[in-house]
Every structure is written in structure tokens, then in C-alpha cells.
């Protein structure tokens, strides 16, 4: 009986393991392999170049630019949706009129694909007739046609705003779920003891929301690392690399310059960065688990 169960376990595990191996492990191993070559993607012949691709990374100005942008992207893509999601959750939880309706509206963008969200915001940012400039014109009464996505100073931040618009709803829903676990009596006691609303939030609600916050941050970290499609749709890394992230830089080097070996080296570095962030996150998660049981 036990032997039959073990056989079933192996059979049932075989398919997902095979899929994981084919679509995750094998491409990952291939990237490591090609990162040590000068393969151009087309030519079946290539040479091993040792660590040349990794050494080139040190002198690649665009890599440095992409790394800085990636750091901005990850930090902003974590902080903004988390903060906005928490704020909206607290507002809706305070039983404002129409709360359930607002909850649905704010959650809606997460149901859209990043490409659709990107295109919506491309229209919003359009300099001549986009919603944003039209509103600015209406308020200021002056002609305003700033090209948000075409200017290097604003392109990345404009995409981060669009990204945050989409991701905030998810954070909000998780925080709302977390808020339901906070005992009403505890908040009433605080109120009786004279704690103001801000103090209640800072000293009671936010600490008790730690498990939800960990989940929100984890999801935002993972989603931000995957945030290639919205950047590709909205700016393609431009103008002139000002919104390049490491994923976009890897794509450009591999598929536009046909430097597949170098692109693979960038992907390896990106993988190691993601691995480091995820390890830090799991370490933090363990601490939270120990603290909150």
C-alpha cells in the first residue's frame, strides 16, 4: 500500500517537475552557459570567451544606467503601491459611504494585463490630447504639451505611476483582509484611553498589519522584478535608454544588437540580484513568523 502511494506521488509529481525543468531550469542553465560565449543568436557556431561578458558589464555605461533605473524601479514599485494600498484600505475600512464600490473600482486595474494598462497610460500621457495635459491646461488656463514619456527626466517616473495605479488595488485588498483580523475591542480601548486616530493607526493598526504587509511587499517585489511588459509598452526603455531597466537592457542587447552571449550575462546578473532580494525577503519572513507565530 505504502509502495503504491509512493509510486502515485512520483507519478503526480513527475509532470510539474518536468514542466518546471523544461521551462525554468533548462532556460536558466542555458543562460548561464551562453553567458560564457560570444553567441549572436543566429550562428550555430560560437566561441567560449570565459568571463569576458561579465568583465564587459563593468565598463558598460548602459548597464550602470539600467542598474540605477532598476533600483529606482524596485524601490518605487514597492513603496508607492504599498503606501497607497494601505491608505486606501484604511479609508475604506473607516466605513466611508460607497466603500464597497470604491473597493471594486480600485481593484479593477489589477484585472487588466500590463500591456493594456500601459496603452491606457500612453493615451493619458499623450502630449497633445492626453487626459493629463488636458487637465493641466484646464486648471492652469495655459497651453501645456509636455511629453511625459518622451522626456528622459520624466519617462521612468511616468511608468512607475502607471504601474502603481495597477498594483495598488492588490495591496489594498490584502490590507483590508489584514484589517479584519484586528480586534474591534482593542481599537475601542485605544479610543477610550484617548488615543487619536493617527496614534491608533501608527501604534496599533500598522504593527498588527505586519503579516499582511509582508505579503504585500513580497508580491510587490516579485511583480516589480517581472515588470518588463509595461515598460516595453510605454517607453521601450527610451527615450535613449532613460527608462532602461536591467530586463530591458538584456532584451535590447540580446534581440536588437544580436549579442546573445552578453545578454545572457546580464540575465545571470539579474537572476543573482533577484535571488538576493528573495533570500532577504525569506529571512525577514522567518523573523515575522517567529514574532507573530
Amino acid at each position: 500500500m505504502e509502495r503504491e502511494n509512493r509510486l502515485w506521488r512520483v507519478i503526480l509529481l513527475a509532470l510539474p517537475v518536468a514542466v518546471f525543468a523544461a521551462f525554468v531550469v533548462w532556460p536558466l542553465a542555458s543562460s548561464f552557459y551562453y553567458s560564457f560565449t560570444d553567441w549572436n543568436g543566429f550562428n550555430p557556431d560560437y566561441d567560449f570567451v570565459g568571463f569576458d561578458n561579465f568583465l564587459k558589464i563593468h565598463t558598460d555605461k548602459l548597464f550602470l544606467n539600467a542598474t540605477i533605473n532598476t533600483a529606482f524601479w524596485i524601490v518605487a514599485a514597492i513603496v508607492v503601491p504599498t503606501a497607497l494600498g494601505l491608505g486606501l484600505a484604511l479609508l475604506i475600512d473607516s466605513r466611508i459611504p460607497g466603500g464597497p464600490v470604491f473597493k471594486s473600482i480600485f481593484y479593477l486595474p489589477i484585472c487588466l494585463s500590463a500591456v493594456v494598462v500601459g496603452q491606457i497610460w500612453v493615451w493619458i500621457y499623450q502630449p497633445d490630447w492626453g487626459l493629463l495635459n488636458t487637465v493641466v491646461e484646464a486648471v492652469s488656463g495655459e497651453n501645456f504639451n509636455y511629453a511625459w514619456l518622451a522626456k528622459p527626466d520624466s519617462a521612468l517616473w511616468s511608468v512607475i505611476l502607471a504601474w502603481s495605479w495597477q498594483q495598488t488595488g492588490l495591496s489594498m485588498v490584502i490590507f483590508l483582509a489584514g484589517l479584519t483580523t484586528i480586534p474591534e475591542e482593542l481599537l475601542e480601548v485605544c479610543e477610550i484611553e484617548g488615543a487619536k486616530a493617527f496614534q491608533r493607526i501608527r501604534l496599533v493598526v500598522i504593527p498588527l498589519l505586519t503579516p499582511a504587509t509582508v505579503v504585500v511587499i513580497a508580491l510587490n517585489v516579485i511583480n516589480s522584478l517581472k515588470g518588463f511588459d509595461i515598460l516595453y509598452t510605454m517607453t521601450g526603455g527610451g527615450p535613449f535608454n532613460s527608462s532602461d531597466t536591467l530586463a530591458m537592457h538584456m532584451y535590447n542587447e540580446s534581440f536588437k544588437k544580436y549579442l546573445m552571449g552578453y545578454g545572457s550575462a546580464i540575465s545571470v546578473v539579474l537572476f543573482l540580484i533577484a535571488l538576493t532580494i528573495i533570500r532577504l525577503y525569506f529571512r525577514q519572513l522567518r523573523k515575522v513568523d517567529e514574532l507573530h507565530g
Partner: protein, 423 residues
């Protein structure tokens, strides 16, 4: 165990010769896999009609996989990496095809070219520039385009312009006239970078000539040479005078085309595919829009025309080479296919048997301009290796963002391009 009897022997005697006789017919048919980027709503429909003509004329079946223009560049590389290139795919003649040829991914078509007499079909100028790589033929020029100054006829008429400029001074005067009438002279949609390349191409070809430009494209000249600085200075002059519509980097080529079509700008430097786009919007060639060639700049410099050639190539690891060759030969040499395709797609045919009367009035004049030019040059991103093209294309959008930084931009690009040529 199979036992022999008279019926089985007779059946075998009948079937075996039939199979043997049928074998050549089977070898001449079968599926031919095809991937291409002719995917605009209108273009795809017309292209599919031409494919249907091939299928009707032969025993082959085309397994057709159209992919959007920009995605195609990635897709074909991914398929090459996975050894799964289709039998036939469309590709841009010039440096990109050279790159694929150097990678050993293409099948030479010299035998097919000679067997099917394509020397008598393909215009020599196009055949010489677009089909030969490393001394062998690899590509049939399915169609080609030309970049010219396309304008809104009503806007120019309203501004009192009756004569189109043929010199640089005349062009500057036209821009000044338009600006004085409150019309934005030039629309440029450089969001995707490549539309800006035609300005660089024509200014450099018109001042430094095709030989110098060829040197810049192959790395023997530098982006901080006086010739490049002079061409960029002329471009900067246009920008400084406010002749370009604001926020070029925010607009795609269709946005810029729309501005001209609506009359928000007077003209745009674009390839002949704009005629297909405008015709699709219901604009009437020669009535609603027209074109003039990029004006001559310096005396004694050969007249160049610029544009891409869309080719069809055969992959080295395809499974139906006979079918692939039959497809290329048919699509190139069948005058009806060429006429239908180029007439509808807003392109020119390299097939000498296509009657120019097939084109609309604008394209007929384009055809004459191209035929009379001294030199047909591939546009920038098809003339220089892909890693260098990436550097240059970014330069154009940087320049359009802030033309005052042109010297810094050129110094940087000179270093980056030199590096890219070594990759």
C-alpha cells in the same frame, strides 16, 4: 504470417509502380512554412491573396505565420536560436540580411535564380544592391520603398506654395513661408527612433556623398568627422528655426502622418508605405497628398535615393527547399502578384515586367525618381550592422530631444559606434 496469393501479388504489382510514379509528384508538393511581417490589416489581406495565387498555381500549401513588424525582429531570432526557422521568411535586405548570411542561416538561391531566369525579371540596380551577399545570392526583392517628402497638398496650396523645392535654399524658403503662415512645416514621429534616420541619411548623402556614407556605415569613417558634423549642423538648423513639430519623440510615424493628413503639419519625410497608410484612411493620391524628392544640397554630389528592400529568403534548415524556391521564384517573377501586391501596399516592384501604370499617380512619379537616381542606398538601420544601428538610432532621438547637445552627442556616438563595430 503473410501468405502469398494471386490477388496480393497483383495488388502489389499495381500499387508499387503507382507509388513510384507518384513519388516525384509528392516531392513537388507538400507544406512550405512561411513567416513574414506584412501584417497591417490591409497588407495582410493583400499578401494572403498573393499566397493563394501561388497555392492555386502549384501543389504546395503555405503554412503562413504572420508576425507584427517589431515583434518579428525578436521572433525570428528566437526561432533561429531554436533551430526552428521556417522554410521561407521575409527579411530586410542590407546589413540585417548580411548578418544572417554571416551566421550561416540562409540557403543560397544562385541555382534557382539562374534556372528561373530572374536576371531578366529583377531590375539590375535592385538586384545588385539587395540580393548578393559574400558573392552569392540569398534574397529576392519582394518589394522596395523610397523615402521622400510627403505633403498635404491643401496645406501647401493654402500657404500659396505652387512650386516644390529642388534645392536646399528652396527648401528652407518653403519652411519659412509655411512657418510665417502659422503652419508647422515638418512632422517627425521619432518615438520608435527609426523615422528620424531618413533625415540623417539624406543630409549626409546630400553633403558628403554615398562613398563617405558607405565608409561611415562600415566603420572606416567616424561619427565625429567633419562630414557628419556638417550634416548634423544642417539638421540642427532646421530644429533651431522651429520647423519641426514639438515633441517628435512622443509621436510614432503614424502620429506624424496623421498630423500631416489633418493639416496640423505640412509635410513629413517618410517611406512610400505612408501612401498605403493614407490610402487606407481614404486620402486620394495626387489630390489630398503628394511628394517631392529630398532637395539636392551640394553640387557635384551624386543624387541618392534612400529606402528599404523587403526580401524573401530561404532558411538553411528548412524542410521543403524545393517548395521554398518555387515560392520565392513565383512571388518575384509573377507580374500579376507583383503588381497586385505593390499597388495595394504602397511599395515599388523590382520586377521589370510590372507596368508602372499599375501604380497610382504619386507612386508613378516615385518610380520615375528612383529610376533616375544615381544611387539607391539602404536606410541607416539597414546599412550598418545592428549593434551600431542601435547606437545611431538612439543618437537621433537624443538629438531631437535637445539639438543643442549635438557636439556632445556626436563625440559620445563616435566612441560607442567604434566599440559596437568590434562586437
Amino acid at each position: 504470417m503473410i501468405t502469398l496469393n494471386r490477388r496480393r501479388v497483383l495488388a502489389t504489382m499495381a500499387v508499387v509502380p503507382a507509388l513510384l510514379l507518384g513519388a516525384p509528384a509528392f516531392a513537388q508538393g507538400g507544406d512550405v512554412t512561411l513567416t513574414h511581417y506584412f501584417t497591417g490589416e490591409f497588407g495582410l489581406k493583400i499578401f494572403n491573396e498573393q499566397v493563394a495565387k501561388f497555392e492555386a498555381a502549384t501543389d504546395y500549401t503555405i503554412k503562413n505565420s504572420p508576425i507584427g513588424h517589431e515583434d518579428f525582429k525578436t521572433d525570428i531570432l528566437v526561432r533561429a536560436a531554436g533551430d526552428s526557422l521556417p522554410d521561407v521568411f521575409s527579411y530586410w535586405a542590407g546589413a540585417r540580411t548580411q548578418f544572417v548570411v554571416d551566421s550561416g542561416s540562409l540557403h543560397t538561391i544562385d541555382d534557382m535564380w539562374a534556372r528561373d531566369g530572374l536576371d531578366n525579371v529583377v531590375a539590375k540596380s535592385v538586384a545588385d544592391s539587395a540580393t548578393m551577399y559574400n558573392g552569392a545570392r540569398y534574397l529576392v526583392p519582394f518589394n522596395y520603398h523610397y523615402a521622400g517628402m510627403f505633403y498635404n497638398t491643401q496645406v501647401l496650396a493654402d500657404a500659396g506654395v505652387t512650386e516644390m523645392p529642388t534645392t536646399w535654399d528652396g527648401f528652407l524658403a518653403l519652411c519659412e513661408t509655411l512657418k510665417g503662415k502659422g503652419v508647422t512645416p515638418i512632422a517627425l514621429g521619432s518615438k520608435n527612433r527609426w523615422p528620424a534616420q531618413f533625415w540623417f541619411d539624406y543630409l549626409l548623402l546630400g553633403t558628403a556623398g554615398p562613398d563617405y556614407r558607405a565608409g561611415l556605415m562600415n566603420g572606416s569613417a567616424s561619427y565625429d568627422d567633419a562630414e557628419v558634423k556638417a550634416a548634423m549642423a544642417m539638421w540642427k538648423d532646421l530644429a533651431d528655426k522651429g520647423y519641426f513639430a514639438a515633441n517628435a519623440n512622443a509621436d510614432s510615424w503614424t502620429d506624424a502622418s496623421d498630423k500631416v493628413a489633418r493639416g496640423d503639419a505640412a509635410m513629413t519625410l517618410m517611406g512610400t508605405w505612408i501612401t498605403g497608410y493614407w490610402n487606407g484612411l481614404g486620402l486620394e493620391p495626387g489630390t489630398d497628398y503628394d511628394f517631392f524628392p529630398f532637395p539636392a544640397i551640394a553640387d557635384g554630389v551624386p543624387v541618392s535615393v534612400v529606402g528599404p528592400v523587403d526580401g524573401l529568403v530561404i532558411s538553411n534548415d528548412g524542410e521543403n527547399r524545393a517548395g521554398a524556391e518555387a515560392f520565392l521564384s513565383f512571388m518575384m517573377s509573377n507580374a500579376d502578384v507583383q503588381a497586385s501586391w505593390t499597388g495595394a501596399y504602397g511599395a515599388l516592384s523590382a520586377n521589370v515586367n510590372v507596368d508602372p501604370a499599375n501604380y497610382n499617380v504619386v507612386m508613378q512619379r516615385v518610380s520615375g525618381i528612383v529610376a533616375g537616381a544615381d544611387n539607391f542606398a539602404f536606410n541607416y538601420d539597414l546599412a550598418t550592422p545592428p549593434p551600431v544601428a542601435e547606437v545611431g538610432l538612439s543618437m537621433f532621438s537624443r538629438f531631437m530631444d535637445d539639438p543643442s547637445k549635438v557636439d556632445d552627442i556626436l563625440a559620445q556616438v563616435a566612441a560607442d559606434a567604434a566599440q559596437a563595430f568590434t562586437e
